[in-house]
């Protein structure tokens, strides 16, 4: 597998002159192409700051960031980098530029000079891939939050990126909108092989990730498979993140010799897992 994003000792201070700690510091990461990476961390831990380095919105004040080997500090590569890595933000209202859905999706391809016939085709494909094709002539401000966010994703897909970075895309959505968006992201990752970097506050959204990175105070605290990370509930809690009670319970039981799976986050799944384990024990 090739590496799509790479950072080397990346640091960023919003104010270079101040003596405050940088917002992110000394981060060295490699993200594999096609993988689904989740990033978790408390408020102000530097998640957004780090993410904005992945498509050259912010430039490192220390260290380096590379996208497919392209140095993000090289201004002549900025457009190429942004074509490769698309970014979805928290508030869907503030990233939609046009007042017709399909015009908004066309915005990105128009910016990179795609011929008009091909834009039409890309826009239709992109809208279909997020399940918003039948809304193509609607006004975005009349859509639900989840639908708006899917339009925003389509706007990036139409530029044919190889990686999507999503900065808390579900934070302003209701549970239905949230699952619409997460399902769409997972589908794009699975079916089109688009690398996904998902920043979130919801631990539940990270279970299916290939890799989970927990950030704290501008640095990486834990980095591994979601199950390995969940097994370190105390460490996660020590940096102010809440771990679901179910995970804590499973961890406690595992310490006493049970081999329970840690991905049972909901109360039902957890009960089911414990039930099965107890049954096996008594048999």
């Amino acid at each position: 597998m090739s590496i799509i994003i790479k950072t080397e000792h990346l640091s960023h201070s919003y104010d270079i002159n101040s003596k405050d700690e940088p917002a992110v510091r000394d981060i060295s990461l490699e993200i594999e192409e096609g993988s689904f990476v989740a990033i978790l961390g408390h408020n102000g831990s530097g998640k957004s700051t780090l993410a904005k380095h992945f498509n050259a919105i912010l430039l490192p004040t220390g260290g380096k960031a590379y996208v497919l080997g392209m140095d993000t500090s090289d201004e002549s590569l900025t457009i190429e980098i942004r074509k490769t890595v698309g970014m979805v933000f928290q508030n869907p209202d503030n990233q939609i530029v046009a007042n017709v859905v399909e015009d908004d999706v066309a915005f990105g391809p128009e910016n990179i000079g795609i011929p008009s016939g091909e834009i039409r085709q890309r826009v239709d494909e992109a809208l279909k891939s997020v399940g918003m094709y039948k809304y193509r002539e609607h006004a975005p401000h009349l859509l639900s939050g989840g639908q708006k966010q899917r339009v925003a994703i389509a706007g990036l897909i139409a530029m044919r990126p190889r990686c999507l970075v999503l900065d808390e895309p579900t934070a302003m959505l209701d549970p239905i909108g949230r699952s619409e968006v997460i399902d769409t992201i997972k589908k794009l990752n699975r079916e089109q092989g688009i690398t996904v970097i998902l920043i979130t506050h919801h631990m539940g959204e990270t279970i299916d990730a290939d890799r989970l990175i927990v950030m704290s105070d501008g640095g990486v605290l834990i980095d591994g498979k979601p199950k390995e990370v969940f097994a370190q509930a105390e460490r996660i809690e020590s940096v102010g993140l809440t771990v679901p009670d179910t995970t804590k319970l499973l961890n406690a039981l595992n310490r006493h010799g049970f081999g329970l799976p840690l991905d049972a986050l909901s109360v039902e799944d957890c009960a089911e897992a414990i039930y099965r384990a107890v049954k096996k024990e008594t048999n």
Binding site: I57, K83, E110, I112, H141, L156
Partner: protein
Amino acid sequence: MLKDITLGQYFPGDTVIHSLDPRTKLIMTVVYIVVLFIAGSWVSYGLVAAFLVLCVALSKIRLKTILSGLKPLILIMVLTGILNLFYQKGERLLVDWWIFHIYLEGIVKAFFMITRILLLITGTLLLTYTTAPIRLTDGLESLMNPLKKLRVPVHELAMMMSIALRFIPTLIEETDKIMSAQKARGADFDSGGLMRKAKSLLPLLIPLFVGAFRRADELAVAMESRCYHGGQGRTRMKQLVMSARDWTALSAGALLTAAVITLDAFGL
């Protein structure tokens, strides 16, 4: 409450008028306004009015919609009428009481001016009613393209206009939300004198402005992430194309202009 603003609103449809190129409609509107000011007789006015009625009929915009668009301008029309009524001197004095002198010519002039405003506004309403705002800005950008040579930032201006149009509903929604929130805390926007009303708007405007700046900031980052880098090298999905219809419409406009000028020359 704020949602009932109809001025500058677009009513989708698929009539001939709707399908005209926005540039055609913009040019036609300008031509129409000029013709309206050239026209100096009732005959030429009748011609212009007939043309407008034809366009309205073709657009299938309902009379009620047009009347509701005219409503905010009734005051201006009445004032214009009154001013002309009293200030126009003439020969046939009809009313002569205290400081009021009304001549027959005054009545005619007042009628004339009100008709002119009526025709003027209905014509421009028809433009906005039948053209999507984004198409309008596209049309404007394309028409003003030659100005780029004079270093006028045509693309940037058009982009600003279309973004403003895009955010009007969002900001209206936000205003409604803030207003409800302030009302829930006992704010009163409706009573009191002018000063009090203006003061009560302050707690509305401040959060609205702060919010708008935050939005602008986030939007700029989102646009940059989508490779926006100004107008150069940019293509369009929906290109503007002039069809036979557009040329027919423009010829009709030229014909109307010629007819009105001729009528005026003959003093009709």
